[in-house]
Every structure is written in C-alpha cells, then in structure tokens.
Symmetry: C2
Subunit: 349 residues, 2 copies
DNA sequence: GTTTTCTGTGCAAACGTTTGTATTTTTGTG
DNA sequence: CACAAAAATACAAACGTTTGCACAGAAAAC
C-alpha cells in the first residue's frame, strides 16, 4: 500500500552475504551454521547472530543439489479424503517432522496415470524416499521399478505389490475378513454376500480369502455368485444389494469397504428390510460415518495410527543405513456395532 | 535377489552424459530438451531419443537453483481430514497439475508452531507460491509477513487475515449464517443458541455476525448468553447443549461446525428431545456424515470445488505476472435436511 | 565475389551450498 | 625461542542446470 514500497530488491540473503559482512569465507559460515566442531564457538556465535540479524534462510535447493540428498519425503496415496489414508498421513508426519524430515503428499485419485506423474515429480525433485499406496487402476509396475532402480528408498503400505522389492507394511486383511465373517456366522446369518473391490489389489484379494476361509471353517459352502467384484462405492452398493436380497436370498453382507456397505444400508432401509434383525452388515475401514449412522455399522478398524508409526520408523531406519523389515503386518480389530448384532453395546474381538 | 546385482553404480544420468554420448555440449542438450527454437529439429530428435534411451530424468533441484524459481506450490492447511479442506485441495490440484505445477501439502493440525515450521520449510525449499488457511491458534501474523516480504506470492483462503496483503478467497460466511438462522426462525424456532469456534478467526466472526443480523431482521432479541465460543468439537457440542436446553430453554441450535452440532444431536437423543419437532439443528460445512446421520442434518455447503478453482486460477495469474483480485467471495448454499424441518425432502435456498 | 544476415552450436559463468585439502594462526613443549 | 602439533579458517571444486555471449558456417543480398 505504501507508494514508496515499490519492488524493493527482493534478493535473498545468502551464506556469502554473511561471510562478507563478517570478513570470513562462505565455507566457515556453512560449517558454523552446521555446528561443525572445526569452527570455534566464538565465531559460531558471531555467525549465528549475523544470520539472524540479516534474516537468512538457508537455500535447501542448493544444499540438496550439493549433497545429492534431500530431507523431503514424498508420499503418494490414492486420496486424502478417506479416513484411513488421512490418518496414516497424520501419523507419519507426527514422527517424521520432529525427526527433521518433511513430508509432501500427492494424490493419485486412483489413476495410474497420476501415479506415474507423481513418481516422476518426486524423482525429479530428488526426494530422499518415497512412501506409497497403489491406486486401484494400477496393474503394471514399471513406474515403481523406476524408483528402486534409481536407488531411491521405497516403502509401500496398505495396497502393495509384492513384485517390487522394499518394505511393505500392510494390514492383516485376511484376519479382518475372517473375523467379520465368523462374527456374522456366529450371529446366526447364513447366506453372506461379499462386496469387494478390484481383486488385483492385495487388500481386496486377502479379504476375499479371509471370507472364503471363514465360510469353510464354519462348514458353509462357498458360492461364487455371492461375490460382487468392483462393488466398492456407495452407488454400486445400492445397486448390488438388490440382487443379493431379491434373487440370491442373502441374509448378510460382508463388504470390503464402508461406502458400499452404506449404499447397501440405504437400499435395505428403502426396501423395509430390518437391520440387524433380518439382515446383517459388516463394513471395512471404520470410516467416521459408520459410528454415526443409524443403525451404527460394524466395521473393521485398521489402526492407521500404528501403520503410520511403522512407516515413519522404517523410513528413518533406511535413511540411517539400517536394514528394515521386508514386511510388517499390522493387526486389525473388528468393531461390532448395531448393524450385525442385536445387543447394542460395542464389543471388540 | 541376484547375487551379482550388488550395489551397481546408482549415479543418475545427467545432461552431460547425453551431451558426451552425442558429441555435443550440455547447453545444446539443455536447449533441445527445452524445445528451444535455436536448436535444429534434427538434433532435437537425436537428443530426445538419446535421453529416452538412457532413462534421463531432469534434475529439478539443479534447475530450480539456476532459474531461481520452482514450479512447486506449497499448500498449508489446518488438517486434511476435514471434507472441506480435502475437497479444496483436490480441486486446486485438478487445475494446477495439468498446468505443469505440482502441489505439496502440509498440515498444521491447528497449531501456530506447526504453521511456522511449514512456512519455513516451504520458503527454504523456494516454492513458487504459497496457498494457506490459518490455524485456529494463530493470532499473530509475523510468519505470514515473512512470506510476502521475501517476495513469494501468497494466496490465503477460507481462514484469512486481512492485515496481510495478497489475495484472500473466502466463503460468504455471513450469508451462510444468515440463511441458516433465518430458516430456523421461519420454521418456527425462537430461542436459537449459537455454537462457534474461536472468534479471532474471520470465519467464525462473520458467521456470528450473520447470526446476530438474522435475529435482528426477524425482530428477535440477541442474547449474549446463547453464544458458546470454543464449542466446535463433538465433545464440546455434547456438553454445551445440555446447558442450552435445561437452563436456557433453547429450542434450536445454529452451530458454526458440523461436529459440535453432531455432539449436540448425540446428547439431545439421549435426553429424549425430538429433532426436529422439539428442537431444530443446523450445522456448517456439510461434512459427509451430515447427510448420513439420522435425522439427517441441515448444513451449509461451502462449495470447496469452486473455492479450489479460484485459488488455482489466482495462482496461475500471479505466476504469469498478472494482477489478481484482492478478494474473492464464494457463495454458499443452505442444504435443508431433516434436523430443522418437518418436510423431509431436500430444499436448497 | 564480398559483405550481410541467419542458423545452429559452443563456451563459460552463474545459482548457493558443501567439503576435501591447503594454509594460516594459535597453543603447547622442551 | 624454536618447533611441532593442534586448532581455526581459507581456498577451490563440485553438484546439474540455464543462459548471455561468442563464433563458425551457410544462405542471402548486393
């Protein structure tokens, strides 16, 4: 707003400016600011004070270029608007930030093309490591190969691909599904349909296996026609539950995602089907709304907090040159709510 | 897994490698890859092919250092786990990515200290611009001043501070509140309490003004004791609604946030108060759960999509050297649902 | 056939750090 | 006081690009 204030010289202060004003060399300043023992305490103080006075901000770009390594970690996720991912991210940050790293987040919106773009961006910016969870669409892994072949540490989580080496941190999807389906069976439901996402993804595949095994262990027949692949959105949930009830005479649903379970509940209510009396529902991921909706929905909670912890610790380990675990499996919990049990108190297995 | 594969040389391909292998100079390669007209088409093709063949990835760090400007845009938000923010982010990305920029996101978790850290990180990494929404805790704006005084373009959105120059893109909070409260009054409610966040934030302040004006315009008395500041979480909502109903004999709530409105609904249900018959509730932000809960909750939808659009376009404008608007106000919509109206069909004002 | 104008490349410096090595200054020892 | 050892600092190259300027050769103009 000041008329005089027009385009003052915006040149940023550099190490050289500090050096000149104190009549030392840039290398001394660099070492002083890095607290290098070769510099005397007295000059260190002098330099630090001057840096403060001039409003010096280190140029991390130059530093990264020279050192060849950056303390920025890239994190690629399908989307940040799902409680699981956003909680994992927060948890990773909580550890990585205090440790001096900083995290940049990129979303793929489930598209392989965006995933490629994201990886390219991070590689070109020479991030120190990449944390990622695959998009649904991804079925070919050349772009992941690029990461490791360029020597950048890669930590995969949740939706991982076994073909690529490096640490994989996953939930116990099999167990989550097994617990869910066993619980439905114990509650008296007998014809349980399964909504699932694209089975090329490990998470859905493993949950599907858990579903099958639970049926088998309970002496129930597995029926292929009860499985609905690509049924993971609220909308597909709405549509598919119709067929499940009307044609297949199902009496329960185990969905690999809360959203399609929600869609199913929408339709079931419209149809006048009583939950949980006539029909049991179990979702997956413990989205916020599962506890809020009516009836509240039984769901599998994946412990994103713990997953984030393990991811961050693995990153730090790798960057310290230590050997990380090849695989980490995080246990899950089944949160039993109204949608699958007459007794309305919350039980945890 | 190959035993022979031990630590092969991971040195990355540079422009110089391409130059050497084609017997030209690095400058020619640089220009060719940048599609500079001074280079002949034939050598361009040669160079592009060789780059592809060698698996060259440009080093954006070096490029940024030399050019002094980066095409990375930093975005600082209170948290990514709120539908409003995560939707704004997605919308910003949708425009910025195709335009060749890439977005890095940092959360503050509502802490001024983290906000400072975030700004420092972005400045040190010499981002091309910063997009930000203030944390609740922030009451002093020196760190924002740093951004503009270093000549980095700053675009504030939603929670903004007028004292700092630069574009501010905000919702029409006054209007959102005014519509909400007027609607409650028209529906027959008379004693309307107001839950709000810290009034130092523009968003809460403006909504509070809207609340007051709506009361006044309807000929209702404004009563200070009906306003609950710092009542923005589910928990505070649960606690404060008790007093509102029991002591103050209120018959409706206009909350500046959906979460505290949700908490209020929790308690009202427990108390046996019928919604909307005995008590009307309007929230703010149109969180996902508002439509899913029972009764569904009337809420103000802030059009994060449009806000993201405007943010991204402003950024592009600034980076192109054009003069952006000083302020943009995005209209809001009141989504009337079950919690404030007997008629269950969705009406939009 | 000489001069002028393009076209296409090369040269070298610069961006702001970091770091191995060299040099100066200080300290300690006999 | 001379000299070695240690401490503190200086020098200069390097990281991988980009870019103003110089320059060679070819085409165009006279």
């Amino acid at each position: 707003m000041e008329l005089l204030d027009v385009s003052m010289d915006k040149r940023r202060i550099t190490i050289k400016d500090i050096a000149d004003s104190l009549d030392v060399t840039p290398s001394t300043v660099s070492r002083a600011l890095a607290d290098n023992p070769r510099i005397s305490e007295s000059t260190k103080k002098l330099i630090r004070d001057k840096a403060e006075e001039l409003g010096y901000e280190p140029n991390l770009i130059a530093s990264t270029l020279r050192k060849g390594k950056s303390d920025t970690i890239g994190m690629i996720v399908p989307g940040i608007n799902r409680s699981f991912f956003s909680n994992v991210i927060s948890s990773v940050e909580e550890i990585l930030n205090p440790a001096g790293f900083n995290l940049v987040i990129i979303q793929t919106h489930e598209k392989t093309e965006n995933e490629r773009r994201a990886i390219r961006t991070l590689l070109r910016n020479r991030v120190g490591a990449i944390i990622m969870s695959l998009s649904v669409q991804t079925k070919e892994y050349g772009h992941l190969q690029e990461i490791t072949s360029k020597g950048i540490p890669l930590v995969q989580f949740d939706r991982v691909c076994k073909e690529i080496e490096g640490t994989k941190i996953v939930n116990d999807n099999f167990q989550g599904a097994y617990l869910s389906v066993s619980h439905l069976i114990k509650s008296g439901y007998r014809k349980i349909v399964h909504f699932t996402g694209a089975l090329n993804l490990n998470v859905y595949k493993e949950r599907f296996e858990g579903y099958k095994t639970a049926l088998k262990d309970a002496g129930l027949e597995f029926d292929e026609s009860l499985v609905f692949e690509y049924s993971i959105t609220r909308d597909t949930g709405r549509r598919n539950i119709n067929k499940a009830v009307a044609e297949l005479k199902a009496d329960a649903l185990f969905s690999s995602g809360d959203f399609s379970a929600l869609g199913a509940v929408d339709t079931l209510k419209e149809m006048g089907v009583k939950i949980p009396d006539d029909f049991g529902v179990v979702g997956y991921a413990n989205e916020q709304f599962t506890e809020i909706m009516h009836p509240s929905m039984t769901s599998v909670e994946q412990n994103p907090q713990e997953m984030g912890n393990r991811i961050a610790k693995t990153i730090i380990k790798i960057l310290n040159g230590e050997q990380p675990d090849e695989q980490v499996i995080i246990p899950v919990r089944l949160l039993i709510r109204e949608s699958s049990w007459i007794n309305k108190t919350l039980i945890t297995y």
